[in-house]
Subunit: 322 residues, 2 copies
């Protein structure tokens, strides 16, 4: 592992809202960072230019072993192609791995962002030593990554773990992915913000808009969280509702995977017990007793860096395993 | 493997409606059988007596290597205890493995019935050589078994694969398991029969009751299937509806597991294309493109013997591995 320790690794987390690029050593110590908006509505070309600029800034002058990318979309790990992304409009079959590899002349690896994140938690975070682990990323959407028998579970074509796109309401709204009543249409940050706007438009009394600069169109999960922290009742109700739906999907994962550990990461995990406690209550009330007893459900430890550190772990795993 | 080939194995499939006990060799050739009603309402003691009687009948005079049991409930594989079963009333923490082992003085192994079935298909059926495989048993309830990396996936405490108890309708009915809107409340044989009775009671024109001896209380999935085969429109509609809901849950499994193969077994799989085709249509319309392209969804090959042959495979795997 000497070669690993000497060289640095670039980890890229490409999300629907933010791009987080870090420079880290093989123990996951972060020594450089560039953090910027994705501006996904500008389309793939503009976003890719932004990623390249960001990597150049972070990697400047360092001896780099490789680049790992975790991306918010369905990724074919074997080819490094992002085939589709509900949260990155116009991203269809984009060979991001090849583009970055050609640009920098460095070994590059691509995975779904939540798949990368579960590897990050398994290498550096709350999942060290855990054999059966499901990572749930609750942010713009809901993503997932699965470790089974201590290994990343990819499935037949590398897209396993799209847990945000399981139907939890067969009569629910159409999801951006084309499926009906997906978990992420109920329990993501986007769903939370949408419901907040709907309630405010219906005349609910709340301080939420004041945390969005008074602009209803800019109400986000963050504005709701800020309002909840100062005791806003609507904000607390809305977070409880989101947490309740989060719990409904967690029950499914507990019954299906019987995991040792479920880690809740992504932007909404910053809400801590406000999000986690009502979700855990649903699990204890509804999941099968045996798997409910076996599972710990906790907040992820790497926070906003889980994806980027996971991308670092990806390089370590791919380049230095034999 | 010589020892295996010489000795015979007993496989027990304990279902909510039927007990199927077979005597098979190590290649899965069935050389004896006893098939009887479970009569689950009589409670665990009566059912266990029935199982013992059935095994005695089948095993009489044979040289037996071991007994495998697949049971319709949550099973703790390590202890051989059935902790809970939605379809076997009063079965709470029943040490079935120990009871049978003491009775016959033979190595005995217990798994959930669908877990056993997936192993059966992997050893002897449609899943030979398939690395990532999900088995969906559609009968009285919906059970599941998962093979990952060519191995049975047990999860942390041996109850993984309870796919029938994932919520697909968060506003749906309460399931016998305590969860809300479980897949099996919509797409199982019980759900099909219940909906048939409801429609008939509402005055729908149909020949279904004539396939239940004219007794509305005895309308079953089988009566609906028989009516559908003679062109009964309500019966066809009801099966289409069940198949549609089956598809909704299959989409979830495709997105979550990205499996190579999903096998549909259990009693309702006898409906063949009538059940499979509408379900496949839902998958092709709603699942993520990448995993939808990667998966084959087919009828299981071992039919009503999947559970019992899986129980045989269980003995082979446990007793003769290493």
């Amino acid at each position: 592992m000497d070669a690993v320790i000497k060289q640095m690794i670039v980890g890229v987390d490409l999300g629907g809202s933010k791009i987080n690029v870090i420079l880290a050593d093989s123990r996951g110590n972060i020594e450089g960072r560039d953090w910027r908006d994705t501006l996904a509505h500008e389309g793939p070309e503009a976003v890719i230019k932004r990623i390249i600029k960001s990597i150049k800034q972070v990697a400047s002058g360092a001896d780099i072993a490789g680049i790992g990318i975790g991306a918010a979309g369905t990724c074919e790990a074997s080819t490094g192609i992002i085939t589709f992304s509900p949260n990155l409009p116009e991203w269809h079959n984009i060979p991001l791995k090849d583009i970055i590899q050609r640009e920098f002349g460095l070994p590059t690896y691509l995975e779904n962002d939540a798949t990368a994140a579960v590897l990050g938690e398994h290498f550096f975070g709350a999942g060290v030593g855990v054999e059966n682990l499901v990572y749930v990323s609750v942010g713009t959407g809901i993503g997932g990554g699965v470790i089974i028998g201590g290994q990343l579970y990819h499935g037949a074509s590398g897209s396993a773990g799209e847990i945000g796109h399981m139907t939890i309401d067969v009569n629910g709204p159409i999801c951006k992915c084309g499926n009906i009543g997906c978990w992420e249409t109920f329990a993501s940050g986007t769903a939370l913000a949408r419901e907040a706007m709907r309630r405010i438009e219906s005349g609910a009394q709340t301080t939420i808009p004041s945390f969005a600069g008074g602009d209803l169109g800019r109400v986000s999960a963050e504005s709701v969280f800020l309002a909840a922290q100062v005791g806003d009742n609507l904000a607390r109700d809305l977070i409880w509702r989101t947490a309740h739906y989060l719990g409904v999907g967690l029950v499914n994962l507990v019954n299906i995977f019987n995991p040792q550990l479920i880690l809740i990461g992504g932007g909404l995990s910053q809400m801590g017990p406000l999000l986690l406690d009502p979700a855990l209550k649903v699990v204890s009330e509804r999941a099968f007793e045996l798997p409910a007893r076996a599972v710990r459900i906790e907040l992820a430890r790497l926070g906003a860096d889980a994806g980027a550190l996971g991308a670092v772990a990806l390089v370590l795993q791919k380049k230095f395993s034999t």
